[in-house]
C-alpha cells in the first residue's frame, strides 16, 4: 500500500533543496509553488510574481527513511500547461541529457561532496586539527556519519564511502556512479538529508565553499564517463579514447564562461586562492589533483574524468548540465586537447585561468552565448537571481578591508 503522504524534494534556482509534503493521491496533479520562492536570492524572495507547479518524477520514488508515513520522490517545476519551467534547474539538466542521448551516448556520473561539521553554539568546525582519512577521528563522529550513510542507503542512494577530509571539521561523502540524472538527484538528496541528519544529531553542517580563510574549501568533484551500450567509450587501448579527449577539450573550452554555474556566490572564489586542491588554471592532467579536469585511467569500467572546479554549495543540476553540455560540444566540434599538465598546474603556464572573483565570473557568464544555447532562458534567470550579489559584493566594505587598511591609511 502506498504511503499517505509524499515528500517531494525539489531545488530552487540557487540549488537549495526544499521538501514539500503532499497527499500522495493528489501529488501528480501538481503543487503550486510561487516563483518568488523558486527564484529566491540568497537574502530575499524574488520580486517576480506568479506560480509554477511542482510535479513528482515517479521514476525517482524511493523508500523514505525519515518518515514512516510518507514516500520520497524528486520533483520538477512545470508551467500550467505541463511544459518544463525555465525556473527549474533539474529540467535544464534533463534537456542537456536528452541532447546527449540523441547523440548516442549516455553519461555515468558520481559526485564527491565535501562539507564541514560545526559546533552549533560557536558555528566553528567541530575539531581543529587535520585528520584526513582518519579512521580514529571517523570513529569519534561515526554516530553522525554512520547515520548519514545508513539512512541514505535506506533511501536507495548508493553511498560509497565517507571519511574526515583535510580541514578540521571537514568530511567527504562519496556517492557511487550512476546514470547522470540519477547521480544528480542522489547528490541533491544527499546534501539535503546529510545536513538534516547532522542537525538532528545536535550539530550543524555547512556546504559553504570556503567558510574559513585558513582552511581548505569544500568542493564538488564530478566523476564522469561516457557509454555506448555496455562499453565505456572514454577508454581505448588502456588509455583515454579520442572521444574522451574531445569531451575534455569541450569542458576546458567553456570552463571560464560557465564557472558561475559551479561557483555561484562571491565566497566560492576564495577556494581558488593560492596553491590548493581547488583548480585555478583551465587545465587537465592525468591523475593530477592540481588541475581542473583530472583524467583517471584504469580498467575499461573505471576510466573516467573528474571535474574538480565546482563548489559544494552550487546548484548541482546546473553544474552538471554545464559540464555535460561543454563536453558534448567538444565531441561535436572535435575540439583538440592541449597536452596534459604535468606537475603543479597552479604554477604552469596555461592558456586560460578560471575567474578569480565573482565579478569576473558574472561578466564571463553574461557574455556566454553557449550558456543561452544550452540552458535556454534558465541561464538568464539564473544570472538575474545572482545579480543582487554582484551589487552587494561591489558595494560592501568587508571586515578584512577594515582590519588591513583602516589605521594604515
Amino acid at each position: 500500500m502506498s504511503a499517505r503522504w509524499l515528500d517531494i524534494a525539489w531545488t530552487d534556482l540557487l540549488g537549495r533543496c526544499h521538501l514539500t509534503r503532499v497527499r500522495n493521491d493528489r501529488a501528480d496533479d501538481g503543487v503550486p509553488v510561487s516563483i518568488a520562492t523558486a527564484a529566491a536570492g540568497y537574502a530575499a524572495l524574488s520580486p517576480t510574481v506568479g506560480s509554477l507547479l511542482l510535479v513528482p518524477d515517479r521514476s525517482t520514488e524511493r523508500p523514505n527513511p525519515f518518515s514512516a508515513d510518507a514516500g520520497l520522490v524528486v520533483g520538477s517545476l512545470v508551467e500550467d500547461d505541463g511544459t518544463p519551467s525555465a525556473w527549474c534547474a533539474r529540467s535544464a539538466l534533463v534537456h542537456v541529457l536528452e541532447t546527449f542521448n540523441r547523440a548516442g551516448y549516455r553519461i555515468q556520473a558520481a559526485a564527491e561532496l565535501e562539507f564541514f561539521l560545526l559546533n552549533p553554539m560557536t558555528q566553528k568546525p567541530l575539531w581543529s586539527d587535520v585528520n584526513q582519512y582518519s579512521i580514529t577521528k571517523g570513529g569519534e563522529i561515526e554516530n553522525v556519519l554512520g547515520r548519514i550513510r545508513r539512512q541514505l542507503v535506506e533511501a536507495e542512494i548508493p553511498v560509497e564511502a565517507m571519511n574526515p577530509e583535510f580541514s578540521g571539521g571537514q568530511v567527504e561523502l562519496n556517492i557511487r556512479h550512476a546514470p547522470a540524472q540519477d547521480a544528480a538527484d542522489y547528490t541533491v538528496l544527499s546534501r539535503y538529508f546529510a545536513r538534516e541528519i547532522v542537525r538532528s544529531s545536535g550539530l550543524d553542517a555547512t556546504f559553504l565553499a570556503k567558510p574559513w580563510t585558513d582552511q581548505a574549501g569544500s568542493g564538488l568533484h564530478v566523476h564522469q564517463s561516457l557509454w555506448v551500450g555496455a562499453k565505456n567509450v572514454m577508454h581505448e587501448n588502456r588509455n583515454l579514447s579520442p572521444l574522451a579527449c574531445h569531451y575534455m577539450a569541450g569542458q576546458l573550452a567553456h570552463m571560464r564562461e560557465l564557472a558561475l554555474l559551479g561557483s555561484s556566490n562571491p565566497n566560492a572564489y576564495h577556494r581558488r586562492a593560492g596553491a590548493s586542491f581547488a583548480p585555478s588554471a583551465i587545465s587537465w592532467g592525468i591523475d593530477n589533483r592540481t588541475v581542473a579536469v583530472r583524467a583517471i585511467i584504469g580498467s575499461e569500467g573505471a576510466t573516467r574524468i573528474e571535474q574538480r572546479d565546482a563548489s559544494a554549495d552550487c546548484n548541482l543540476y546546473l553544474a552538471f548540465a554545464g559540464q555535460f553540455a561543454s563536453g558534448l560540444d567538444g565531441i561535436r566540434r572535435l575540439l583538440p586537447l592541449e597536452p596534459p599538465v604535468v606537475g603543479n598546474a597552479h604554477e604552469t603556464k596555461v592558456k586560460g585561468r578560471l575567474p578569480l572573483t565573482f565579478v569576473e565570473a558574472m561578466e564571463a557568464f553574461t557574455g556566454s552565448s553557449f550558456a543561452r544555447e544550452h540552458l535556454g532562458v534558465t541561464a538568464d534567470l539564473f544570472e538575474g537571481v545572482l545579480r543582487p550579489e554582484l551589487e552587494e559584493v561591489i558595494g560592501n566594505s568587508s571586515d578584512w578591508e577594515r582590519r588591513r587598511y583602516i589605521s594604515a591609511i
Partner: protein, 385 residues
Amino acid sequence: MSAKKTSDDWLMSEVTAGRIDTVALSFADRLGAWRGKRVPAKDFVEHGSTTLGFCDGMIVCDIQCGVIEETPFSNFSTGYPDLHVTLDPREARPMGWRPREAYVFGVPSDRHGTSLSVAPSAVLQSVLRRLEAVGLVVTTSAELSGAFFDSDAKPNQAFTADEERHLPFLWLNALTASWIPVRYCHPGFDPGSFRLGIDELSPLELAQAIVVAKGAAKELARVEGGDAIFMTRRPGGAEPALLQVTVTLKPFQELSTELLECLLGEARPLLYPSVNAMRMTDVPVVLSTRGEVSILTVSASAEADSATVLATVLAAVGAALDGVQTPGSRIDALSRSAQLLESYWLRDWLGEPFLENSIPLFEHEAALFASAVTDWEIERYWGVA
C-alpha cells in the same frame, strides 16, 4: 591476526545476518596513523576484493597531515595522484568496540599494483621476504605503553578502582573482540600509564594490530572526553611511552648486542621520529636464547610507526647476518636525519625512496621546533633576561 582465525566467509555471514553494516577500508600512513574510508559492508562483500584510491600525499604526510614540498614522492609538483589500496573481504576482522563494524587493512600500491616503496608496510614485507629467502622464520610480539587522561587532563586512575567500565578494561575487551591476541594490560609506574602486551603474530599483522590498538585507545578515551597519549616523553619525568618489539628468529642466529645497538643507533629517527621522542638517548637492545631460537627485544618510541620499527629492527638483523662490519655514526638529533642515507645497510634493506621521503619530514619537524619559542624559555627567561 589472532586469537580467533578469520574465516573466508566471516564477513559475508555477519553482513547477511545483519550484524555488521560498515567496514573501515584501511591503511597505515608513514607515522602509523590509521587512515581509510568507511563504506557500507554489503557493497564490500558483494563486490569482493576492492581497490580504493586515496590522495598519495597521505602516505608521506607529517603529524598534522601536512605534505612537505621536499618529499619527492608527493607534493604539489607531482600533482598528488592516487595511491591504491586493495582490500580483501576475507581479511576483515571485527572492530571490537563498535558492534556493527569491521575493518580490513591493505598495503598501499601504485595503479599497476606494485607496492609503494615509501609505504612502511610494503618496506616491512620486502625486508621479510629477504629474511625468509635465507631460511629465517620470524615472529614478533610487542609491549605498547602510553597513558590515559581524563577530560580534566588529569591521569585516568582506572587501575586503582574496581570498575569494569574503566578505560583500560574497555580497551582490553575491545582489542580482544577485534581478534587481537592481547596478553595483558597493567598499570605503568605513573598515574594513568599502562602497558599492553600483544602475543606473537607475523610482523605485518603485529604492525596492523598496534595501529588498531592505538586508534581504539584514542577513540575510547575521546568518547569520554579524555585522550590516550603515546607522546614519548611527558612532563614531570613520567616514564616514557614506548613500543617494545620482541623478534623471535628461528633457527638460532649468532648476533651481537653491541653491533645491533650500533646499527640501530644509525637508524634512530626511524625509531624515535619526533623531537620529543629523540630526547630518549638510547636504543635498548636485549638478546637472549630459548632453545633453538634467538630472541631480540628492542625499545622504540610508542609514537613510531609500528611497521617502520619492525622493518628497521629486522633490517638490522639482516644487515648483521650479512656481515656488515663498519657501522656509521649514531644520529643524535632529528635535524641530522640526512645521515640515514649514509648507512649502506639502511639504503640496502629499507630502500632509498623510503629514506629520501622520510628525511625531509624529520628535518621539517626539527626546523619547526628550532624556530619555536617554547613555554620553557618564556618561564625561565622572561623578565630575567
